[in-house]
Amino acid sequence: MKRGLISPSERATPAIRRTLRAVQGVLLGALLLTGLGPMLWLAKAAVTPTQDTLRAPLAIFPTGVDLANLLTAWTRVEIDKYFLNTVVIAAGSWLVQLVVATTAGYALAILRPRYGGLVTAVVLGTLFVPSIVLLVPLYLTVVRSGMINTFWAVWLPAGASAFNVVLVQRFFANLPREVLEAARVDGAGPARVFWSVVLPLSRPILGVVSVFAVVASWKDFLWPLLVLPDSAVQPLSVRLPALQRYVELDVFLAALAISSVIPVALFLVFQRLFLQSGALEGAVKG
C-alpha cells in the first residue's frame, strides 16, 4: 500500500501511534454523529408517536414503536403518489440526459465534424452561466409552450447538462479506435457502431451519468416547484414543505424518512461510484 503523509517509522513511534489512534477515534465519532446521526434520528422518529418526539426528542422509544406512521404517510397522505411522480420524473430526466449526452458525445468525439469545436465551445460556455439567469425565461418558455404541469417541463431542460456532455465526450474520445475501426471494416454504419460497439464499451461512464442524473433529479426543488403547480404531478421534494402544514408531526417525519430511502440506498449500493465520481465532478468543474 502506498504510504501517505506519516511515514512507517513515525507510525511505529508509540507516542505518534497513540495520538493518531485517538485523533482517528474522535474523527470517527464526529463522523458517526454528524453523518449518520441525523439519519438514524429520522429513522427513529419515523416510527415514534408525535408526543414522544415532541417531549423527549432524543429518548429512544420511551413509549414504544408506532409503525402505523409509515403506513399512514404512504396511504392517507398519498406519499405513494408523490413517490411515484418522483420516480417517473427521475426516470424521464435520466433517459433524456443519457440520450443527449451519448449521441452528442458520439458525434463530437468519434464522428468529429468540422464544426465540432464550435459546438463543444458553446456547450462548455453554458457551464459559466449561473442557472439563475435561465430561470425566468425558461419558465416563460414552458408556460407559452403549454408544458406547464407536464413532466416534459422537467425532463427536457434536464438534458441541457454540459457536465454530462463533457464527461461522455471525454470517455468516448479515449475508446480504443482499433475496435471502432474493425467494426467499420466489417461494414457497420455509424448508427450500428454507436449502438453495438460504443455504448456497450461505455458502461462505466454511463453508470456515472445515470447515478448523477437520478440523484440530481431526486434533489431538485425550485424548478419542479415552478413548473408543476398542480399537486397531482408534484414530486416529493416539492410536496413535503406543503405537507408540513396539515400533517401530524410523526407522519410528516415518516414521510421525510420515506423520501430519503431511495437516494441513501443508491448511495450504499453504488458507494464506490459516488465517491469516485464525486471527485470527478470537482476535477471537471476545476
Partner: protein, 320 residues
C-alpha cells in the same frame, strides 16, 4: 485529425479526371456521413438550443423590457436595472448574501480540508470514513432542511436545545432570532455540502507523491512541517478552485432561506436569489420578470468579473 485521412483518400482515389477537386457539395457532404453526424447532434442542438442558449439570450433581452404574461412587451432601456438598484431590499439581500458567504467560508472551508487530511491517513476501513462524510450529500436537500428545521425548534425540548440543556445552556431561539438565523442556515448548509469537498480533497491527497514526503523526512521534517511544506502546497491548486466555487455557490443560496425562514425574521435571511424569486414569482410582488432578469444578469456579471479577477490574481500563486 482522423477525419482528414478518409477525405484525402476520396480526393485521390476517384478515377475520372474531369473533377479535379470536387469540394464540399451537399451530395458529397451527405455521402461522407455529414448528415448522419448532424442527426446525432440533433438531441443536443434541440435541447441546448431551446432550454439553454435561447433562455440565456432571452434573459438579456428581457432585462431591458417590461413584461408580464398579459400586457404588451415594451422596451424600457435601463429602467429595470435602475428600479432594482433603487430597491432598499436589494442592499439588505446583498449584505445578507455576503454575510452568508463569509460565515460559510469560516465554518465550511477549513472543516473538509482537516477532515480529508485526517481521513487520508486512516489505514483500516478508510471507505467507512469517507462514506460517513459523504452521506449528508445524498440526503435530499429539502428533507435535510425540513429535518433541521425541526432540530432548530426554539422550545426547551427542541433537539438542539435539549443537547444545550445538558450543558446548562439555552434554550436558544435559533431561527426566530435575527442574529442567529443566518448562522443556523449556514450550519445546515455546511453539513449538507462538506462531504462533497472532502471527496475532492481526498482525490487530490492521493495524488501527492510519496517521494516528496520522503525527501522532506530526509531533511528532518516532522509531521506538521510535512503538512505545511508538502501537503498544503500540493493541494494549492484544488484549494484555490474550491474556494472560488464555494463563493459562487454561496452567492446563489436559495433553498435554505426559502424553506427555513422565507427571508425572515425581519429580513435577516433575505438573499439575492430569494429576491429574484420574489420579484418573479411571489404572490405579493410577483410577475415583475424584467426586474428579476435584470437582477440575475447583474448577479451573473458580478460573479463572472469576480472569477476572472480571482483567476488572474491567483494564477501566479498556483504556478509556483
Amino acid at each position: 485529425m482522423a477525419v482528414q485521412s478518409p477525405v484525402r483518400a476520396v480526393a485521390v482515389v476517384p478515377p475520372p479526371p474531369p473533377a479535379p477537386r470536387r469540394r464540399r457539395t451537399p451530395v458529397t457532404w451527405v455521402r461522407r456521413g455529414g448528415l448522419t453526424t448532424l442527426l446525432f447532434l440533433v438531441p443536443l442542438l434541440v435541447v441546448f438550443g431551446v432550454f439553454s442558449w435561447a433562455p440565456i439570450v432571452q434573459s438579456v433581452v428581457m432585462s431591458f423590457q417590461r413584461t408580464n404574461l398579459v400586457g404588451p412587451v415594451t422596451f424600457v432601456g435601463l429602467d429595470n436595472f435602475a428600479q432594482v438598484l433603487a430597491d432598499p431590499l436589494l442592499w439588505t439581500a446583498v449584505r445578507n448574501t455576503l454575510w452568508f458567504a463569509v460565515l460559510a467560508l469560516v465554518f465550511g472551508y477549513p472543516i473538509p480540508l482537516v477532515a480529508a487530511v485526517l481521513i487520508s491517513e486512516v489505514r483500516h476501513r478508510r471507505g467507512l470514513f469517507s462514506a460517513l462524510a459523504y452521506l449528508p450529500v445524498v440526503v435530499p436537500p429539502v428533507v435535510a432542511v425540513l429535518l433541521w428545521k425541526f432540530f432548530y425548534d426554539a422550545g426547551p425540548s427542541g433537539v438542539f436545545n435539549t443537547v444545550l440543556g445538558w450543558a446548562g445552556l439555552g434554550p436558544w431561539q435559533w431561527l426566530q432570532d435575527p442574529g442567529s438565523a443566518m448562522p443556523a442556515l449556514v450550519l445546515e448548509a455546511t453539513w449538507a455540502a462538506a462531504g462533497g469537498t472532502v471527496i475532492i480533497y481526498l482525490a487530490a491527497l492521493a495524488g501527492v507523491p510519496a517521494e516528496q514526503y520522503e525527501a522532506a523526512e530526509i531533511d528532518g521534517a516532522g509531521i506538521w512541517r510535512k503538512v505545511w511544506h508538502v501537503t498544503l502546497p500540493r493541494l494549492r491548486g484544488v484549494l484555490l478552485v474550491t474556494f472560488i466555487l464555494q463563493i459562487i455557490g454561496t452567492a446563489q443560496v436559495f433553498l435554505e432561506p426559502f424553506l427555513f425562514t422565507g427571508g425572515g425574521p425581519a429580513g435577516s435571511t433575505m438573499t439575492v436569489l430569494l429576491l429574484i424569486y420574489d420579484y418573479a414569482f411571489a404572490s405579493s410582488l410577483g410577475g415583475d420578470y424584467g426586474a428579476a432578469t435584470a437582477l440575475s444578469i447583474m448577479l451573473a456579471a458580478v460573479l463572472a468579473v469576480l472569477s476572472a479577477v480571482y483567476l488572474r490574481v491567483t494564477k501566479s500563486w498556483s504556478a509556483s
